[in-house]
Symmetry: C2
Subunit: 428 residues, 2 copies
């Protein structure tokens, strides 16, 4: 048995506390599996005295996380503070500079600064691992970067924000409007301090950024992702989708097209009886298509102390065992700028809009779609609401560009009231 | 970039050919990911001249797989011949003795000889990896041995034989009897040369043996698994299950109970709307419960050239990257003999039996169950068939032992015609 692996943990919130609990509870098991003792030697957090339900008195305390990263008795720094800048970034950079391995759960940090941090880590010869940053307890980073490494990945799809999935499934199950369920989720503590991170799709898009880099060998580039939130989804959309045998999910899609990599994190429609459509509540799911493996689906809890700490611990044990691989699965300097093919993939679309209740309104909208090259598969007019006639259109396969153009033309007719809702239908 | 990793492949059937195709097609991608060239240098198979659709003329040929294993220019031996004894075992032993790493897709070999081979490999300091042996393309060995290594695993459930799942779903979808669908599967080439390996649950139990060893730190012990095949399942069972909102799956369950590890591979009933219940055709699924991670579900193709070769390639790339871990996730000499708790877990059971159509028959069976301590939750008598009255019983939670005892008592009453069918109901 080799020397112990000594951990320094920065951040003792839900996940940090969960990690301490795993080390304290499953220590003997983990030692057997890792082939060496894994011990916590130092911790850093905002409050030293807060009652966390775990005993941290045996660990050295550092007020300053950067000081933690530089301690001579720490081999591996675990960053669980969060935030794309500030202390998390300073800590990670300091750890790498000090020649320490790093495990982080910080999706925002890596989605924004991942390329620079990966280059620094690889130059320093240290590990930088982030299983816990994506889809909670699901070992999807490992599956992509290791298990499926023989594959040319062709597409990734995923539900990777449990809060949004909770809101959408609760709206459907209880027949409640978005605002009511949003408030419920807030009361339950499901939302980030800035809820836009959740419902705006930003948190999930951070995660997709990281998976895309591994899958497609592209530099992590958050800005290459077409972003849409779930705030626009009404109970009418949920019901209309159900009528069509579909369900609305905040769905990440990263797909290699003939013209480059198309990435989006937007509300989409999926078949209600598909694995994605069946996904309820806070559970996450990632669907991976590869040239050899065909399709793999991974499902599990997307957040929470236990599942996220489980993912952190998996990375820690890998490092204890001596596993070394590039941060995004191939050397960072070989990652290529994604030729971004925004909006090139061809799919059927769902359009819902309110029209002025007067003769010829529908014809004008249909003409606008035709002028944008968007052809209509099915159209349905709902019962009138005041002077507004809600219209639902399912198009034949077309691109996001064409849909955007069609909506712009439709808006110019002057018969469309309010903002139209446009959702891609992800059939397969 | 370090030196190339040189492969010797023994067995060029479906999977071996698939592996050659991956190396030839995705070579550049794999080199980028593995950090070094991975090249095939030698192959061995039964026929040198058979047209496989891939060009093997650049590789050295060995008639004798053992000679392949001993070649000085081979670093890593890939065993894709199959069979629990004979050439596959000789090859694997020779490779380990020659200090070569081994990757195998051979579940039978490892389920029977895994302990000895793991001890030999660990003593020799070589890797012995087997992702492709379990659930085809699904990286479940990696998930268990690495990603979830921080967890105390509490249960594994899985559908791990695609042929059985094909037969069962086809029976339900087409309303056809077992014999007809079995013959269909045979015509389609889905069955092993000895079909008992598939429909008798043996192949799937081999796989469960391997997952159990990793999950619970027990010596791989095929004989510790309670085995049942799907030959006994009739279309009546499929229909009765559907009426109850359930579906029949050949389900592996390995569960740590208070009295030891209980393992079975038997037809079970699962909720029709659960992920396991929704699984159709040849797809595999493994459900893993751990103390931290809660529940992870992995799903994907259970067989086929591409998916299985993808799993082999994942292992090869791990070895190229220098990953070293014990064969079953902890040193083989620390694995413990499973204290086998056959039949201790408590579950509701489904019983179907034909009774003699005469007064008092049902009462006698009910009394027999009561005498065995099995309490009846629901009972239903179907329409008579000739002189036989089919009866369906759902019990309250009880053990397999109690059910076996109840059936033995019922048989002694003389009113039961033919063999009763007893299936555990796996509700959660």
């Amino acid at each position: 048995m080799s020397t112990p692996l000594r951990l320094g943990i920065a951040g003792l919130g839900t996940v940090g506390t969960g990690l301490v609990r795993i080390v304290q509870t499953n220590g003997a098991l983990i030692t057997r599996r890792a082939g060496r003792l894994i011990e916590i030697v130092a911790v850093s957090a905002r409050s030293r005295t807060r009652n966390r339900g775990v005993d941290i008195s045996a660990y050295a305390w550092e007020d300053d996380p950067v000081a933690l990263a530089r301690r001579a008795d720490v081999d591996l720094v675990i960053e669980l503070m969060g935030g794309e800048n500030g202390p998390a970034k300073a800590l990670t950079e300091a750890a790498i500079a000090a020649g320490k391995d790093v495990v982080t759960a910080n999706k925002a940090l890596l989605a924004i600064h991942g390329q620079a941090l990966a280059e620094a880590a690889e130059a320093a010869g240290v590990a930088l691992r982030f299983e816990a940053a994506v889809a909670g307890g699901i070992p999807v980073v490992k599956a992509l970067a290791e298990g499926l490494a023989g594959n040319r990945i062709t597409r990734i799809k995923g539900v990777m924000n449990g809060t949004c999935n909770y809101i959408l499934t609760r709206m459907e199950d209880a027949g409640l409007p978005y605002e009511t369920v949003f408030e419920e989720a807030n009361q339950l503590g499901y939302l980030e301090a800035d809820p836009t991170l959740d419902v705006g799709g930003i948190d999930a898009a951070h995660k997709l950024t990281l998976l895309s880099a591994i899958a497609f060998g592209t530099r992590p580039d958050f800005n290459a992702i077409t972003l849409g939130g779930i705030e626009q989804i009404s109970i009418e959309d949920i019901r209309a989708a159900a009528d069509l045998g579909l369900r609305i999910k905040l769905l990440g899609v990263a797909q290699m097209t003939g013209r480059g990599l198309e990435q989006s994190m937007t509300p989409c429609l999926v078949p209600a009886d598909s694995p994605l459509g069946q996904l309820k509540g806070g559970t996450n799911m990632v669907v991976i298509d590869g040239d050899s493996v065909e399709q793999i689906i991974l499902r599990g809890p997307g957040a929470g102390a236990g599942p996220t700490a489980s993912a952190v611990m998996g990375d820690v044990i890998d490092i204890a065992r001596g596993l070394r691989l590039p941060v995004f699965g191939q050397p960072a300097h070989t990652l290529e700028a994604a030729f971004s093919a925004k909006a090139m993939g061809s799919k059927p679309w769902y359009l819902r809009m309110g029209l002025l209740d007067k003769p010829g309104a529908l014809a004008k909208v249909a003409e606008a779609l035709g002028n944008a090259g968007v052809s209509i598969n099915r159209m349905r007019q709902y019962g009138h609401q005041d002077t507004r006639a809600p219209v639902l259109i399912i198009t034949h396969k077309t691109t996001r560009d064409a849909i955007d153009h069609a909506i712009a033309l439709a808006m110019r007719t002057g018969v469309v009231m309010g903002d139209p809702v446009a959702l891609a239908i992800e059939e397969d």
